[in-house]
Symmetry: C2
Subunit: 236 residues, 2 copies
DNA sequence: GAGTGGTCTAGACCACCCT
DNA sequence: GGGTGGTCTAGACCACTCG
């Protein structure tokens, strides 16, 4: 484990365990340097990570302070699929509708930059949050990256499977959001009415190598989903 | 101007100007060190910033590569209010409905952590994107931070005014998103129908000092708004 | 002015990719 | 094994805040 990651996790854990309020001042650099026995740069790096994650904010000449969101029950949009959902604990479950290996439609082929004959795993599932319908999700996984998938795996967290069993390194993602009226099929699946509002999302996930491997389309149940998003200083 | 910021901007400019495609490899560290005449750490810092912003991705042992979004016409959710909207150029204009100094409602008071007698500027405006109705926005600015505001200023970019005229340093923000049906008032304002879908957003903006100064509620026109969001490796 | 964070350097060494 | 990025250090110096 890298030193700066260990320090970052340690600080975050303290904030949560001691339930420190927004604005609480953390120890200064020299104290942290002492406590962790590392150089100043390593502390700087650890704090930068926490700042980007929205856990703290730093004020030059003044100190490092706790940042905590005020509202609960919101899904963090940034935290990639199921990692680190530890703290704000929702129970996410899935009902798998389809797992099949197919030749993908053209738009999927383009998004995943596939060769014309390359197949994909097509997974369709309903996801539940605390027993309530959260969304309908349709994903396409590139065969060359994800050589195997079945209904059991799709019933749990696919991303944990990719990371732990397949040892894949998920790097970054693009998300596109749009609000629309539900069509008949989606309304039925989500147990809502035709023309009810819905958030439609399109996502593209990449490995750390830059290879896109998962293209997903999701429709969210508007009554059971709300989203949370933090921005930090983009010059750090 | 800080060295690493200058380098980051320079690299981003090159990518845009030369219209480099996703996956294009950038010069290696030694070349950049030569080109900019700085130490390795400064290059690392500049590249980290660009990585967080979704402009590049770095692959250990391999190189630094261009990352570019595939779709256009989406509003970047992360980039705080009007800064750096330079590249994906939308024309944003505003029709001001209200600018008044008032004693705020209770929930605003709580969000901005105000003293009971402190007043706020209440600004209500319709915002247009390329001449089309984008959203209805209702903002509350803390008097102690924003001592003056008028209709003319509210007609332009309030955030530019805060930054340039008032010399405020905007630090970070929390956003909460929810999809709902439009109520009668909002439907009329946005020229939509009752019960049409809409994205409702609540935002809280903080100075770099950690002081919250702007609480805003926004309703987006579902046909004229779509959103874009990039995640990067959160361990950097 | 004392205290606190922010920038930048030079250089050692590590980890990973590719051929 | 050669190339490339990633981590970490020690220390100089800068910039901001606050009493």
């Amino acid at each position: 484990m890298l030193k700066y990651n260990e320090i970052a996790l340690n600080i975050e854990k303290k904030i949560v365990q001691q339930d420190l309020k927004q604005g609480t001042k953390l120890p200064n650099f020299n104290e942290m340097i002492q406590e962790y026995g590392v150089s100043k740069s390593t502390i700087v790096k650890a704090l930068t990570i926490l700042e980007q994650r929205g856990v703290i904010y730093q004020v030059q000449g003044s100190g490092v302070f706790v940042r905590r969101k005020r509202k609960y029950g919101y899904i963090n949009v940034i935290e990639n699929q199921g990692f680190t959902t530890d703290l704000d604990d929702f129970t996410i479950t899935s009902q798998v509708l389809t797992v099949e290996k197919i030749l993908p439609p053209k738009n999927v082929q383009e998004n995943l930059a596939l060769k014309t004959e390359e197949q994909v795993f097509h997974v369709k599932r309903i996801r539940f949050i605390n027993e309530q319908i959260l969304c309908l999700e349709e994903s396409y996984f590139c065969e060359s990256v994800v050589p195997y998938l079945n209904e059991e795996i799709a019933g749990g967290s696919i991303f944990h499977y990719l990371r732990d069993a397949l040892k894949l390194n998920i790097g970054f993602s693009d998300k596109y959001l749009k609000v629309k009226k539900l069509n008949a099929e989606h309304a039925q699946t989500l147990k809502l009415q035709l023309d009810d509002p819905a958030m439609y999302s399109e996502e593209l996930f990449y490995l750390t190598s830059g290879k896109p491997f998962d293209y997903s389309k999701t429709v969210y149940h508007y009554q059971h989903s709300q989203f949370f998003l933090q921005s930090s200083n983009l010059n750090n």
